[in-house]
Symmetry: C2
Subunit: 495 residues, 2 copies
């Protein structure tokens, strides 16, 4: 039983990369699917897309997904469209084939069942020709991978009803997508026209030997492509225009339209009317936000995207990773002066915006993360490096205790220190103190017990003797420090 009201079962026509992606969207949202594809390989292909989709969506969303819908392969377009509440067609881009499938399926579907077509560019008016109840056909054009990318362009033909457009939008939105309702019927719709223009110029660049495929891709993904993941060209250019706004930008870069900056020279005339239209639409889009606000929004998104890509270890994320290593490399490795007696100051952060929770304060789990990162740095100080890890040894945290003493907000500068409480051949007990950099206010403390492990045998073992000696030396130096009042506490113990 699907958890989406009014969407229990859908019919799919075509089960290739796109049809399989639709199957995944519906099934993972708990909707049953009846799929028609004459290709005997279709079940295997859909299976492969489903495996990708399960993996990706499982990573993407935090809430548990509903139980998966049931996938049934059927042997005719009519069978696919029987007893369903929606039909999506994703056959190859041949008009006659799509017309045949839609015509046959529409005879079997209830009269108010809306049909979406995944075509990349064929006109809906041509496709609805011959359908029973043609007014219920829309183009619902998705992007690969369908199970992840939110965009779906909705385009009606001459006979399409407003009700069909609305219903299609509701269905796609229930699947977690962003439906874009188009105003006019046009070959290639909107998105593919933009992609096609860029693609044609890219082909010229390869054709003329100016750049290779990889270089052209780099010219996108390390620059404008990062911005395009959250802002389109119009908003980006509005920001580039600065306080003077969109009209200023157009005046400044309008002449470039006459320059040979692309081989695609058949450009529209920048009439006053076109300029007015662009300026007005750009104002609407900015919705009263100042350039400063838009700049901050753009920068926050770029930071988030690049940090995300660092997690994926690809593209601009690799550039960021390399840069951070450079920055780390320029700071001398923390060494401990032979006469140093106090706690070791090993970590500094500025609280990022996503460390803050609905109470407006740094989230408790982020203090744990800060302490954990500080202990990681301490491990580096005592000699845990790539070679030590590769040799099959590491330290694992087995028990921790934290006290939360004050609040930190986004942007606060914090630092953290480590004090060795006790140690033996296999164990160390360390205490971290997290403080505000400006006034030394202690915001949180943590105590961690770490066990030295043989990571191959997966059991405790003594640390390297040299490491033991470093630790024992530090413990001896810290034995003169008072034991912090939070060390050795159990939760709720009276003070």
């Amino acid at each position: 039983m699907s958890p989406i009201p009014g969407l229990q079962r859908v019919g799919l026509l075509g089960g290739g990369v796109i049809g399989g992606g639709w199957a995944a969207r519906f099934l993972l949202n708990g909707v049953d699917v009846q799929l028609y594809d004459p290709d005997p390989e279709a079940p295997r292909k859909v299976d492969e897309v489903m495996a990708n989709a399960r993996r990706a969506i499982g990573k993407l969303v935090m809430p548990a997904l509903p139980p998966e819908g049931t996938l049934t392969f059927v042997d005719s377009p009519e069978a696919a469209a029987t007893d369903v509440q929606f039909v999506q067609e994703s056959a190859p881009e041949r008009l006659e084939l799509k017309q045949m499938l839609l015509r046959r399926a529409s005879t079997a579907a209830g009269p108010d069942v809306v049909f979406g077509s995944s075509t990349s560019g064929l006109l809906p008016t041509l496709m609805q020709d011959g359908m029973t109840h043609p007014e219920r056909l829309v183009v619902g054009h998705p992007f690969n991978p369908v199970y992840l990318l939110p965009l779906v362009e909705i385009c009606g033909g001459e006979h399409t009803s407003q009700a069909a457009r609305t219903r299609a939008g509701e269905v796609y939105e229930a699947l977690g997508m962003h439906p874009l309702q188009l105003r006019k019927e046009i070959d290639g719709f909107v998105a593919d026209r933009l992609l096609e223009a860029l693609w044609r110029e890219a082909l010229w660049l390869v054709n003329d030997g100016v750049a290779t495929a990889a270089e052209i891709d780099d010219a996108i993904r390390f620059g404008a492509g990062l911005r395009w993941s959250f802002m389109g060209t119009f908003l980006v250019y509005r920001i580039a225009g600065g306080e003077a706004g969109m009209r200023h930008f157009m005046a400044q870069f309008g002449p470039a339209l006459k320059w040979p900056w692309t081989k695609l020279m058949d450009v529209p005339e920048l009439t006053d009317e076109l300029l007015d239209t662009i300026v007005e639409q750009s104002d609407d889009q900015a919705a009263g936000r100042s350039i400063r606000e838009l700049e901050a929004l753009r920068d926050d998104c770029l930071v988030a995207v690049m940090q995300g890509l660092r997690t994926a270890d690809f593209g601009a994320g690799q550039v960021l990773d390399r840069y951070e290593r450079q920055l780390f490399g320029r700071v001398p490795t923390p060494t401990i002066a032979p006469d140093h007696q106090g706690p070791l100051r090993l970590h500094e952060v500025r609280v990022p915006t996503d460390w803050v929770d609905y109470n407006g304060h740094m989230n408790d789990s982020r203090y744990f993360q800060l302490s954990s990162e500080t202990v990681d740095r301490f491990l580096r100080v005592i000699g845990v490096d790539d070679a030590y890890l590769a040799g099959g040894h590491s330290w694992f945290t087995v028990e921790s205790h934290m006290n939360f003493l004050a609040q930190a907000k986004a942007g606060d500068a914090l630092y953290a220190t480590v004090q060795v409480v006790s140690t033996d051949a296999k164990r160390m007990r360390v205490f971290t103190s997290m403080r505000r950099s400006d006034d030394d206010t202690e915001v949180a403390t943590a105590e961690h017990m770490l066990l030295h492990v043989d990571t191959v045998a997966d059991k405790a073992c003594p640390a390297d003797p040299a490491m033991q000696a470093v630790l024992a030396d530090l413990a001896a130096r810290h034995s003169h420090l008072p034991v912090p009042p939070q060390a050795g506490r159990s939760v709720g113990q009276s003070r």
Copy 2:
């Protein structure tokens, strides 16, 4: 003293949006800057860019930045280029102006000081005309915001030496950028040609009333733009071609080049030679990775980018947030059956890849996060909702204790339960148990003391009486459960 070897001080010509961005890149990396800009507003403008850059870079990188370099405004191009190791020119796009600045500055700079020009499209051969030592000029074309976007196109002119190209690449890389060395000198270089093609098509779409500026932007940022933040068009299309590869893709979509999918119809002929070139370059780019591997990489990047944008609460991040709320909404709010006696199962996750640390296991701080999220869900169960928070009340964690009992790996399904240990009007002590879903192995436990607070007065106060009653009822039901062995422990206490 700059921490970058051989780069203590640089000269900048021009301090607008781009020049200011360069100033920020250099200064935040600890390099001193001498800036020439005749605009009396330049100091204010650079100041504004610096404020944006400090904020953004502080969020972007974890390591502490070096002490900022010193910014000095000077009154001539010659003064800017005196006693520096690098010069970057970012004047308005007028050839004569750039030529004058470069000519004058080059007389004052040491003979091996390399010059980069930020021009968006002017040819370096024209710009180096008249310079002292013209062989040291390259175009170093950055993208806005310069302090965040990694791409910089390096393009030499007829007289440019290889040494100058190499040195410019080193300088930009030391600033955390990705230098792209171009093979040929061409108007608009590579990136701007691609941008210009898309932009010209976008202007046609507005001109013809097909879509508004906001709709065109949406057609990018919810679809192809998300992919472009990490993969360019060639790699994306290779994946779309599936196992059959790039030649298959070109055969399938080649005909579309003849269709009116853009107004830019002057396309290159798909000769066998061009096809071979594209296929070969695409193979090089894939570097032996299979389509399945590329698909997984693409999906991981999309997940990372969308999750990043959710943090920034914009674009596809908003779509994801809405989808998650839909998913949460479709799961009935957890209610507790009147006769339920056991711990409350409130949370399930599949361990994301970025929860795993260098030991290959779920990081200790992520267990804390999981427990913290579970307690958040428990708070919702007892009546903490948006209205309660808006009314100036919440629960803050003041003390926590954790035991780490077993390992979890990326992809493992985990669930978490809550047991109420004790409660009074202002406090609750809860115990969470985190287990593997497949075999119920307990991987970690946590104990938290929470305090009920008046968030306006910022002090403890009794919870709402109805909430107290719900808590007392749960505590009474849980009073029959055994106290878990980990509850009440201090770190390192013997068992």
